[in-house]
């Protein structure tokens, strides 16, 4: 998978940009606020139709412009794919692949896959369980786009059940009880399936994340990912029955995959409380690179790796180790400092106020 060419119009700080990218490592270097991350963000947008910084659509459009356009040409399995996305904060966004309108976002995965590592990823370790659940769910879709329907079925059933619980206003009559039975069944089906997928992924991620962590940290620690669902032994159907009275009282579903967590253990200790700052940074990177490796082996081709401001997260030794162990495939990285000694990029671009100058 090789993103050969990127064009931007009115995206963030860029009135326009036209840049060709090599198949290997591209380094975007420049002081802060010059627009390095914006390029990575645009590339990630082409693959996911969202900002990895969590920015809303109107933040992606250059001030004074009404819409932004991101275009990219990708070489996949010897075929050229043209992806075009128009971002319209006031109206509808438009996305085309090879001039054909895109039906579903997840179909984009066939044209372009990316792995993003950004400074915010420290949240994977310090943040709440929702961050880690979403990490797992996104990885699942990257591996197998079709499983996105499992997650969306679960979320729809959950919304319906919660709406019913809210309408009950704390009291459950016989008729509402019968309807609740139906949603319990639907929720249990989708929820068990989603949990099975997440648990299986966590198991498969443990060894690859360990390897990625060791590459970066240069030590022989063991990373283990444990998917935790408090209800799992009873089964979701039984857990929903147990929790029904409390659910009705509180007007919401208190048990299920939407409350689960992913425990990240470093040498069998919870990393959230026991790992040092540096270890946590390496772990966050390891989690992303773990998914990257898993998707690579599943698909046969590595996703495009986007490393945003990665050296600010790592000490010099770890930076060198990361570059030495960089997975095969295309990588774009941004940095406010020069590359660590010994590292050679296929293309180095100096970024100054929205201009990219090749060295």
């Amino acid at each position: 998978m090789h993103l050969q060419h990127v064009w931007l119009n009115d995206f963030r700080s860029y009135p326009s940009l036209d840049v060709e990218l090599p198949a290997g490592l591209t380094a975007l270097l420049g002081r802060n606020g010059q627009g390095k991350s914006n390029v990575l963000e645009a590339v990630a947008y082409l693959a996911t139709l969202e900002s990895f910084r969590g920015a809303p659509a109107d933040a992606l459009v250059r001030r004074g412009a009404s819409s932004a356009v991101v275009r990219g040409q990708v070489l996949v399995d010897g075929r050229e794919q043209l992806i075009e996305a128009e971002i319209n904060p006031a109206g509808r966004n438009r996305v085309q692949v090879n001039r054909q309108r895109l039906q579903r976002t997840r179909d984009l995965v066939e044209a372009l896959r990316v792995t993003v590592f950004a400074p915010d990823d420290l949240e994977l370790l310090k943040g709440g369980p929702a961050v880690r659940r979403s990490y797992l769910d996104k990885a699942l879709v990257l591996e197998r786009p079709a499983v996105d329907s499992v997650r969306s079925d679960f979320e729809k059933a959950l919304r319906q059940r919660n709406a019913l619980l809210k309408q009950c206003k704390g009291r459950l009559d016989e008729a509402a009880g019968l309807t609740l039975d139906v949603w319990d069944l639907k929720l249990a089906q989708a929820g068990e399936e989603l949990t099975r997928l997440r648990r299986d992924l966590a198991d498969r991620l443990s060894p690859v994340t360990t390897r990625a962590y060791r590459d970066v940290a240069g030590e022989t620690s063991e990373v283990r990912l444990v998917y935790v669902s408090e209800w799992h032994e009873r089964g979701l159907a039984a857990a929903l029955v147990d929790s029904r009275a409390a659910d009705v009282r509180r007007g919401t579903t208190l048990v299920g995959p939407h409350r689960d967590d992913l425990l990240v253990l470093l040498n069998d200790m919870p990393s959230r409380t026991h790992a040092s700052q540096g270890e946590q940074r390496s772990l966050a990177l390891g989690l992303r690179l773990g998914v990257h490796r898993l998707v690579t082996s599943r698909m046969g081709v590595p996703p495009v790796l986007l490393l945003d401001d990665v050296f600010s997260e790592l000490d010099p030794e770890r930076s060198v180790a990361l570059l030495a162990a960089l997975p095969q495939g295309q990588t774009l990285l941004s940095s406010a400092t020069e590359l660590p000694p010994g590292a050679v990029a296929d293309l180095t671009l100096d970024v100054t106020t929205g201009r990219l100058d090749p060295r």
Binding site: A146, S149, K156, Q160, A163, V182
Partner: protein, 202 residues
Amino acid sequence: MATYAAPVQDLIDALGRLPGVGPKSAQRIAFYLLKVDDEEATKLARAITEAKARIGFCTVCFNLSEGEVCTICSDPERDQSVLCVVEEPRDVVAVERTREFKGRYHVLQGAIDHLQGVGPDQLRIKELLARVGAEQITEVIICTNPNLEGEATSLYLSRVLAVPGLSVTRIASGLPVGGDLEYADELTLGRALEGRRVVENG
């Protein structure tokens, strides 16, 4: 900013409340109506009043009907023992087009969707149960949509219809006839695999 005269704005607002019509379309339709011959516009107005006056819901199956009881329910040729349960009147038309179904219908007028405030009480389910009790019905075929709300409704019906001597079935979901496998989406293909059948030889 220039605004429209009150009657024009009223028209635009009324059109904008129609399903599938956004503010821009409402405006376009309003201007079209104001431009056409009086006769054309009156014809539309009359068609609406006529339909509203003459068409109601069948008191038996709740399909759209010109009389008290619709033509299907009053047709003696129809199989009185089989009932096909659908969400909307337009689903009756869809099933009728197949010419495969000789029984009668029951229109729920929606599906369970708590997000829209629709529970079993808002649907014609009580009436369905009354029919099953009073008429000589031996089979109920549930033809709700194959989406989450339709499936939930189907599941609910299968529970409340669990009475001895009554068979409750659900239509199968699968591949469109005459299509190509490679164009089927994964979900449909997955469902079709789940519902596979033994090939009958000879």
